[in-house]
Amino acid sequence: MANKLGFYFNATVCTGCKACQVACKDKSDLPVGVNWRRVAEYTGGEWVTNPDGTCEQNVFAYYTSIACNHCTNPICVEVCPTQAMHQREDGIVMVEESKCIGCRYCEWACPYGAPQFNEEVGVMTKCNFCHDYLDEGKSPACVAACPSRALFFGEIDELRAEHGEIAEIAPLPPADITEPNLVIQPHHNAKSIGSTSGKLINPEEV
């Protein structure tokens, strides 16, 4: 399948504001607890107190905004027992709600936590790339929302040609699990996956 869609995320300008997350929630009326796009804060560094009471530090932090990566190897589709989770020709991974039985295998399998169970309706839900907006010639809500212009979308081959092929930084999972259609411009503080120099400091928010 050529012409797959993907996201480009420029971590160097992301302030962690979450306008992307809320624009998404507003568009699709998502309740508290269901976030198709989330923003992780990875923070680390140490403080040392000198004998004179002054302090020194090597503190760092950066944000990663992440939705569904509409992966080349969508493990959520693979594990779905009812074929509710499916991938379109353009790469968009979607839930056919009428087929979903809410077993949550996809949620369990996805290393990014993209599929999310909505208890109100009893089915899995997830980022649909705002395909309705795409049909109208508009950008996805999250992309159009970003005040710092950290988010873009496009055909993944073009995004990679322009911005490189990095798709994994801490605290993301290794990219080889699902081959995400994601390109990241790493923050100058970025640590590689598996790094223990920092930690996901806002687990409740993602």
């Binding site: 504001c17 009326d29 107190t49 503190v59």
Partner: protein, 818 residues
């Protein structure tokens, strides 16, 4: 009405099972169940469904709150209900004519609009004040009660007993605006019947507004001391930010953070952030973070000056020609015997203390070698843009700090040149529109924005030289009537909630408090009469004076929906009251809100013919104008020709030593420890870094702005509470000593109060300091312990020396695991 039905059962309680993020990071625990209050939105379709677009109408509106930005919201309306919010999507988004993209708060605005806290109809208090017990009354009854009380109090005490409290919940429109209070429909109404007690200053920036003009010219906030436009940093080699955090305070696409990111990239300048926190501005823009203890910026400045002077890195020629007070040879006439700045810094003055890097390191927590390095870098990298936000000045010694930081710009001769600056807050290009005329206030007496509780409690004891009363030697009467329009400073945003409760709780003192607002805020609960205002999305207005660095803009706001319930436009409330006070014609001049908007546009067009007429503007939705000239440089004329363009100081020059401040310091009655001085000096303060009270309450506490809210606005929006939960930041070193882990519930407390909140254990704050963001909605339990993280149960009500402003970042606390 459709919306009404939705609101009748707008809240449902749902247990959400959170997904585990265990796969993201090994340190995260498994999925915990949390209870959430969900505000169910009108127009909600199946989750994930695609909404029908055909029958939607889209109107321009704006988020008119007090963040410093002014963001367009494009509201999608269906069957009279706002069903979706977009923002500016015009043009190709090329910087300079870019989209003014709203911040995260604006994107959540439907949950502000359709919120169960909406005030639905007029109410009067039936329980004790502050009990929150109200009963519905008719508009007629409400207007009669207010008009009768106003007449009675004005007859008995005069108009000086009527006060318009600070309120910024509706900020930036033309007619429906709550700030400044003197520009509101309520001010116009009061001015028609003899006026009201004025105030000067504001809770944001009182100390810098009063202090810094003594260096640069003018006094008492009648002229802002500006800095170079943010777009001018393309000419800078170094950017130094003191407590200036646009990434959280001005974070929209029309705000300062996007401009900073853009122009810094163009410029390639290095940026140093000096702040107790590693802020979100620092995350995306800083090349270096220098953590500093709160309230000690002036000590750092002193030591930087020491290094510059002793290593001869300062600009002596600039100091000789443009300044007074640097050295003995340039003291103002009559003050030759006072310390010069150089004397003070080198230790050859009265205190005999050399302000060495070692001296400053013990105060600031910054290693001496770092201070030396910083001084050399700032002095030798030219031009250098130095700026301060309003955090450093919101301290007990804030006036001093506000004047100390610009000393770096002065010592290095960076004033009035491209790429340099003054050390004040960044400027932007803007175009202004004529405002709603509110007539003039016959009462010429002012108090500070902050000391109104004293004016309620013992107004006639307040004097000019002790309490900063302006226009009179003393107040003659106490405050007996308060208008609180779109304000939450009555209880929530004012220091020391428990003290304010006592003052307001005595119903014989202030006899009537009238709140005009859209939500049942904590302050509304302390009112006697509640008048439900229409929200901005229900009314026509113009969001004015937006600026996005090199671009100014204004937004024509269309009503998106009919007013809900029995809500009424604040202007119409005032017109109804004007009838009862026999001033209807003076108040309205026969005009409706729309008539006034047309009037203001027509008046604007008289001096600016380019301004679109009412109909054209309405059609456009947003009117943007780009800066046709060079980036603004503050005090450029003065720099080019100081004789022809003197500053508005007594000497016409930059006053490092202000004779006016020196005289005030000699003549005012100040509380013990308070200092007003001619030179910008470092002053140790109560509950500062060196207060012995730290033996009991060892942690300094600051209360910076937060993404969740604009002050307290949006503090009742579930999506925003999820985006940025209220937490107290604490360094791992301090947390470990107290057995506190990230996410633990803790008590933050001192002798004034106690709050119960979650801890964010993060290295992004300097040890010895905690941060609890301002604006969370006060929520006392039966024991009086706040359960929401309202910082003002902990802050102290002690006006600052000169501005008599709010020192909210000066407080000592202890934290313990709950």
């Amino acid at each position: 009405m459709v919306a009404k039905e939705f609101l009748n059962d707008v809240i449902t309680s749902t247990i959400m099972t959170r997904r585990s993020f265990v796969k993201w990071s090994a340190i995260v625990g498994g999925g915990a169940a949390v209870a959430s209050n969900l505000a169910e939105l009108p127009g909600q379709l199946g989750v994930g469904s695609v909404m029908a677009q055909e029958d939607e109408n889209v109107v321009w509106s704006s988020c008119v709150v007090n963040c410093g930005s002014r963001c367009p919201l494009r509201l999608h309306v269906k069957d009279g209900v706002v069903v979706r919010v977009e923002t500016d999507n015009l043009g190709d988004d090329e910087f300079g004519n870019h989209q003014i993209r709203a911040c995260v708060r604006g994107r959540s605005v439907r949950q502000r609009m359709y919120n169960p806290d909406r005030l639905k109809y007029p109410m009067k208090r039936v329980g004790p004040r502050g009990s929150g017990e109200f009963e519905q009354i008719t508009w007629e009854e409400a207007f009669d009660l207010i008009a009768d009380k106003l007449k009675e109090l004005i007859d008995t005490y005069g108009n000086e007993s009527i006060y318009l409290n600070y309120g910024t919940g509706t900020l930036g429109a033309v007619v429906a605006k709550s700030w400044p209070p003197s520009a509101t429909p309520i001010a116009r109404l009061m001015n028609c019947i003899g006026g009201y007690l004025n105030h000067y200053g504001d809770y944001s920036a009182a100390q810098i507004e009063s202090g810094l003009p003594y260096t640069f010219g003018n006094t008492w906030a009648d002229t802002w001391v500006t800095n170079n436009s943010i777009e001018d940093i393309v000419n800078s080699k170094l950017l130094v930010y003191f407590g200036n955090n646009p990434g959280e305070t001005r974070m929209s696409g029309g705000g300062m953070i996007y401009s900073l990111q853009h122009y810094k990239k163009v410029s390639g300048a290095k940026m140093i952030v000096i702040d107790p926190r590693y802020t979100d501005t620092a995350v995306t823009a800083a090349d270096e973070w220098v953590p500093i203890r709160p309230g000690t910026d002036a000590a750092l400045i002193n030591a930087l000056a020491y290094v510059m002077i002793t290593e001869d890195l300062h600009d002596q020629e600039f100091l000789d020609n443009y300044c007074v007070g640097f050295d003995k040879a340039h003291m103002p006439e009559g003050y030759e015997d006072e310390d010069s700045y150089k004397d003070y810094i080198l230790g050859t003055g009265a205190d005999g203390i050399a302000k060495t890097p070692e001296w400053a390191s013990a105060i600031t927590g910054i290693p001496a070698q770092k201070i030396v390095q910083l001084a050399r870098e700032i002095a030798l990298t030219k031009p250098c843009f130095i700026t301060q936000g309003w955090g450093p000045q919101r301290q007990a010694n804030g006036e001093q700090t506000s004047r100390a930081i610009p000393m770096l710009s002065i010592l290095t001769g960076n004033i009035g040149i491209h790429g340099g600056g003054t050390g004040a807050r960044e400027s932007s290009f803007g175009i202004s529109m004529v405002g709603f005329p509110t007539l003039s206030n016959p009462v010429g007496t002012y108090i500070s924005v902050f000391n109104w509780p004293d004016a309620i409690d013992h107004g006639p004891e307040m004097t000019a030289t002790k309490d900063g009363v302006i226009g009179k030697d003393k107040l003659d009467v106490p405050i007996k009537f308060i208008w609180s329009y779109a304000g939450n400073a009555l209880i929530n945003q004012h220091a020391d909630v428990n003290h304010t409760r006592e003052i307001l709780g005595d119903e014989s003192k202030c006899e009537m408090i009238v709140t005009v607002d859209v939500h049942m805020t904590p302050s509304a609960k302390w009112s006697d009469i509640l008048l439900p205002d229409t929200m901005n999305f229900e009314k026509m207005d113009i969001a004015v004076n937006g600026d996005a660095s090199s671009m100014g803009y204004h937004i024509f706001c269309e009503p998106a929906a009919e007013p809900m319930f029995e809500t009424m436009h604040v202007y119409d409330m005032c017109a109804e009251l004007a009838k009862r006070l026999d001033v209807e014609e003076e108040f309205t001049e026969g005009r409706t809100v729309e008539d006034w908007l047309r009037y203001c546009i027509d008046e604007t067009r008289k001096s600016n013919p380019d301004w679109p007429d009412f109909e054209s503007f309405r059609e456009m939705g947003i009117y943007k104008v780009s800066n046709p000239g060079d980036p603004y440089v503050a005090y450029q004329g003065f720099r080019e020709d100081p004789e022809a363009n003197p500053l508005a100081t007594p000497s016409g020059k930059l006053e490092i030593f202000s004779s006016r401040l020196h005289e005030i310091g000699q003549t005012w009655e100040l509380e013990e420890g308070d200092v007003i001085s001619g030179l910008p000096i470092y002053v140790e303060t109560w509950e500062g870094v060196s207060d012995p009270l730290r033996e009991t309450y060892p942690l300094q506490m600051i209360s910076a702005h937060y993404k969740q809210r604009t002050h307290s606005t949006y503090g009742n929006v579930p999506w925003m509470k999820e985006v940025a939960p209220q937490e107290v930041w604490i360094n791992p070193i301090d947390a470990e000593k107290r057995g506190i882990k990230n996410g633990d519930r803790v008590y933050v407390y001192n002798g004034r109060g106690r709050t119960h909140i979650a801890a964010r254990v993060t290295p992004r704050i300097i040890p010895g300091v905690v941060h609890l963001s301002e604006g969370a909605w006060y929520e006392p339990d039966e024991d009086g312990v706040d359960q929401a993280g309202c910082v003002n149960v902990l802050t102290r009500y002690r006006p600052s020396p000169l501005a008599k402003g709010d020192p909210m970042h000066t407080a000592l606390v202890e934290v313990e695991k709950a």
